[in-house]
């Protein structure tokens, strides 16, 4: 679905952000795009959606060049940016005006998600709080039933119950032919949701594995300083250590934060 090969990108009068970046993604997964500040996560999402243009290299999304912004591509992808704009109109008017652009739009799904998010469709979008606006945008994005859903920091601005609801709704609203790419710093918010992790660092993909592959290779356990010798990576936490160790016993839940810190500190999972 997404084919990136030897992609080169730089902002005007700046050093190259991506040099020879290559990624391949297939539908049917929720991929977490992780990276430090300035690693290029948002830029990569914008390149995927045609909002930025690569200098060279191959970039194809569902066999389309995003740069061309063809209707056949735009009608099956949806980008939820971190900062967004809504016109001063009601939720109902907004979806009446925008839904016809998306051939797979599911009004029943939208009504269901709006109910779950406790949003009434007669509310004026500009009078909603940032979190409520974001919930509506996510609801609308999911209801388009787009093939590629790109979410940039989707849980920023959501309260704690809404974050849990977001995970539940996202997991329950997707089909096999859809691909979701989530860029986030809040790794805890997407734990148990993503099934593939890509870590970007210095404009390169330094890690690209499924959760299953990670679980098979490493375990995440709590321990004491004595256990550190065995660990690939460890971090002090109140009452002991969190450890990433080679998986020799049993599969554990992936501690994405620990994994991220391990990888960005130069460790490998084998």
């Amino acid at each position: 679905m997404i084919q990136i090969k030897d992609l080169h990108f730089a902002y005007p009068r700046q050093q190259a952000l991506f040099s020879n970046l290559s990624v391949h993604l297939e539908p049917g997964s929720i991929t977490g795009l992780l990276g430090k500040n300035g690693a290029g996560k948002t830029s990569l999402l914008k390149l995927l959606t045609g909002l930025l243009h690569p200098i060279s290299g191959e970039l194809s999304v569902m066999n389309h060049s995003p740069r061309k912004r063809e209707v056949s591509m735009l009608s099956v992808i949806f980008f939820v940016p971190e900062e967004f704009y809504f016109p001063g109109t009601s939720i109902r008017n907004y979806f009446r005006a925008h839904a016809p652009f998306y051939p797979r739009f599911d009004i029943v799904m939208l009504e269901r998600i709006l109910r779950e998010f406790e949003l009434s469709d007669d509310k004026n979008l500009q009078r909603l709080s940032h979190g409520q606006k974001k919930k509506f945008l996510i609801a609308f994005a999911l209801s388009t039933r787009c093939r590629l859903l790109v979410l940039d920091e989707p849980t920023n601005g959501l309260d704690i119950p809404s974050k849990a609801l977001f995970r539940k709704i996202l997991a329950g609203s997707l089909d096999e032919d859809q691909l979701v790419v989530i860029s986030t710093h809040q790794v805890k918010d997407v734990e148990n949701l993503i099934d593939k992790i890509i870590i970007l660092d210095n404009g390169e993909v330094i890690f690209h594995h499924t959760i299953q592959e990670i679980s098979q290779k490493v375990s995440f356990i709590s321990g004491t300083s004595d256990d550190r010798a065995e660990a690939i990576y460890s971090e002090a936490v109140p009452g002991g250590y969190r450890l990433m160790v080679p998986n020799i016993l049993e599969e554990t839940e992936v501690d994405i934060e620990l994994l991220f810190n391990a990888i960005t500190n130069g460790h490998k999972i084998g």
């Binding site: 914008k46 909002l51 009608s75 980008f79 900062e83 005006a97 925008h98 016809p100 652009f101």
Partner: protein, 252 residues
């Protein structure tokens, strides 16, 4: 078509309020202008001159804010991601910002002017010339009542240029598009005149006009009008092309 429907659903309240506010403003402005003329010294020519000044000043401002989503990054992203072709977005913008204005503004002015004239005449009977007619007004300006083909082309292209230039500027400049467009055109015009001046000086061409009773290769004013007409067509097409590529290659 979807873009028009979308815009109508989202902006119908704003359109209605804008049109009402403008009609009210026009009503008051005409009443004020007529009262300044003591009602008696007011005629169709005054209506036309009021119309021309409002038409162009408002038209420039309106077309200078074409592509309103480009004024902010968030709006740009939403607009660029909307599933419509660049061609549809471009045509929608031309139709809503230039064509609709050129067609609807005279209609609105005519309606408000005649309504206002009738109302004011009722209270101030000394206002006798209160019926406004475009054709009468313009025919009184165009002395012999007829236009040559090339003069008509030049006039139409000149009017279109007044709208297309700020339209192209708005597609290219995100912030302060009107100011930046005016500055850009000022620089282009100044450079052109400076270049022409230097050419004339360098090649000692000052006497050419008097010697052959012509301006370079142009023999009479008709040829000047033809050349300017063609030049204006080329300039307008170039500006539309710039606007098209600005939209097509726009990044968020």
């Amino acid at each position: 078509m979807l873009l028009f429907k979308q815009s109508l659903v989202i902006n119908k309240r704003r359109f209605t309020l804008g049109l009402s506010a403008f009609s009210g403003f026009l009503f008051i402005a005409l009443f004020f202008a007529q009262s300044v003329h003591n009602y008696t010294n007011w005629g169709n020519k005054d209506y036309v001159s009021t119309f021309v000044s409002i038409f162009f000043s408002l038209g420039i401002a309106y077309s200078a804010f074409s592509f309103p989503p480009f004024r902010s990054k968030e709006k740009s992203m939403a607009y660029l991601m909307l599933p419509a072709t660049n061609g549809e977005k471009f045509v929608y913008e031309i139709l809503s910002r230039i064509v609709a204005f050129i067609v609807l503004m005279p209609l609105l002015f005519w309606t408000v002017a005649n309504l206002e004239g009738t109302v004011i005449h009722y209270f101030f009977p000394e206002l006798t010339n209160y019926k406004f007619s475009f054709s009468e007004g313009f025919l009184s300006i165009v002395k012999d009542g007829k236009f040559e083909f090339w003069a008509l082309i030049l006039t139409l292209q000149g009017i279109l240029f007044i709208f297309i230039a700020p339209f192209a500027g708005a597609s290219h400049f995100s912030k302060s598009p009107l100011l930046k467009t005016i500055l850009t055109f000022s620089v282009v015009m100044l450079s052109y005149f400076l270049f022409t001046f230097l050419i004339v000086k360098s090649f000692n061409l000052e006497g050419l006009h008097h010697q052959r009773n012509s301006l370079l290769f142009m023999k009479d004013s008709q040829m000047v009008i033809e050349l300017l007409g063609i030049a204006m067509v080329i300039v307008n097409l170039t500006l539309l092309t710039i606007a098209w590529f600005s939209l097509k290659e726009k990044e968020a």
